[in-house]
């Protein structure tokens, strides 16, 4: 079912992905952060087999939904008294959903959207300042309309290249899971040091 076409991501987009993952690390995974899921996984007693399963899946998955479905499946099949994935799943799904939104923000060209918005403001200011200029007053509504159309095209999810969206989502997800796995093993080692 999967298309084998190789998706090339340009350097600028790769940089945006890295910058976002850095911010995510600062927000959730730097020392002492509450939303550190790697630490939470270690605290709930989730075994390393489970972590390896998640790690393997993230590198073999071709769709983002395979990752979310895997987590839902793990939580769904867990026995009530165990309550490990049950605790982790809502938070992990939440963080993954944020990545899904971010993928569109990365694909959609925000600097261009801002630039077009500024151009609309400039047109309006010019019309206000020079109301006697008939040519300008006639042209301004047409120009504003075209600029607004350009913004709506840039904002439209359907105008994004699907292959690029999937690739960015997967790269973001891999980045997140790598952070979680590293934090899990670090927390495990801390636990064993404290236990000695």
């Amino acid at each position: 079912m999967q298309d084998n076409t190789f998706v090339k991501i340009d350097d600028k987009t790769l940089k945006k992905i890295d910058v976002y993952l850095e911010k995510l690390y600062e927000k959730n995974y730097a020392a002492g952060k509450e939303n550190n899921l790697g630490k939470l996984m270690a605290e709930t007693g989730l075994g390393s087999t489970q972590i390896r399963g998640l790690e393997q899946l993230i590198f073999s998955a071709t769709r983002f939904s395979q990752v979310i479905n895997y987590i839902k499946n793990q939580a769904g099949k867990e026995k009530k008294e165990k309550s490990q994935w049950t605790k982790i799943a809502p938070k992990l799904i939440n963080q993954l959903s944020e990545l899904e939104q971010e993928a569109y923000r990365i694909v959609q060209n925000y600097p261009a959207i801002n630039l077009f918005s500024q151009a609309i403001d400039s047109v309006n200011q010019q019309v206000e300042a020079d109301q006697t200029n008939e040519k300008w007053s006639k042209m301004a509504p047409r120009l504003t309309k075209q600029l607004k159309e350009a913004i709506s095209l840039l904002n439209d999810k359907e105008s994004c290249d699907p292959a690029t969206v999937i690739e960015i989502k997967m790269r973001l997800a891999r980045g997140l899971i790598k952070m979680i796995v590293a934090n899990y093993y670090y927390s495990q080692s801390q636990k064993s040091i404290e236990g000695k």
Binding site: R63, S65, N69, K72, G76, K77, A89, D161
Partner: protein
């Protein structure tokens, strides 16, 4: 001969990843809101039946389960699936039907014929047949990932239950 829409493209992968997933989740939530949850084992055989015989095998299974099940909650579940997946064959599409959902998609619509332009009954019937073939063909290709979404969300929403 109807056209075949190839779902192997990246466009379709994104469709499977997002709108189809959301629709499957909504269907599960709708069922659980209106009915008692059934045991997980009722759903567990669905993927293997699809892998073995596709949509036709699933239809046979759903029909068989509707007839043989005596437990009210199980019967309600299989009746729901029947309406949800095969409603167009028996009555007008409902909002909750997968057929109706697919019909609205932008990648399918250009392939469908506009019934309103039919000049006579015979032509209308041919157009209906053409449209049904198109949707059925897409459904055959999507049914496996659809139930991946459906089952995982169902299990998640009924956590802790048997």
């Amino acid at each position: 001969m109807s056209e075949i829409i190839n779902i192997a493209s990246k466009d379709m992968q994104l469709f499977i990843d997002e709108p189809l997933r959301q629709f499957a989740y909504q269907a599960v939530d709708f069922f659980l809101k209106e009915n008692d949850a059934v045991k997980k084992n009722q759903l567990q055989s669905i993927p293997s039946v699809i892998n073995g015989g596709g949509l036709d095998a699933l239809k046979k299974m759903v029909d068989n389960q509707r007839e043989k099940n005596s437990k009210v909650s199980n019967k309600a579940f299989w009746n729901f699936l029947h309406q949800h997946l095969f409603a167009s064959e028996i009555q007008k599409d409902t909002d909750c039907s997968l057929h109706h959902f697919l019909r609205k998609q932008s990648f399918i619509q250009p392939h469908l014929k506009d019934i309103a332009t039919a000049e006579n009954r015979k032509q209308r019937s041919q157009m209906n047949k053409h449209n049904k073939n198109i949707i059925d063909n897409v459904m055959k290709q999507l049914i496996s990932p659809y139930f991946e979404h459906f089952n995982c969300h169902y299990f998640y929403q009924t956590q802790g239950a048997a």
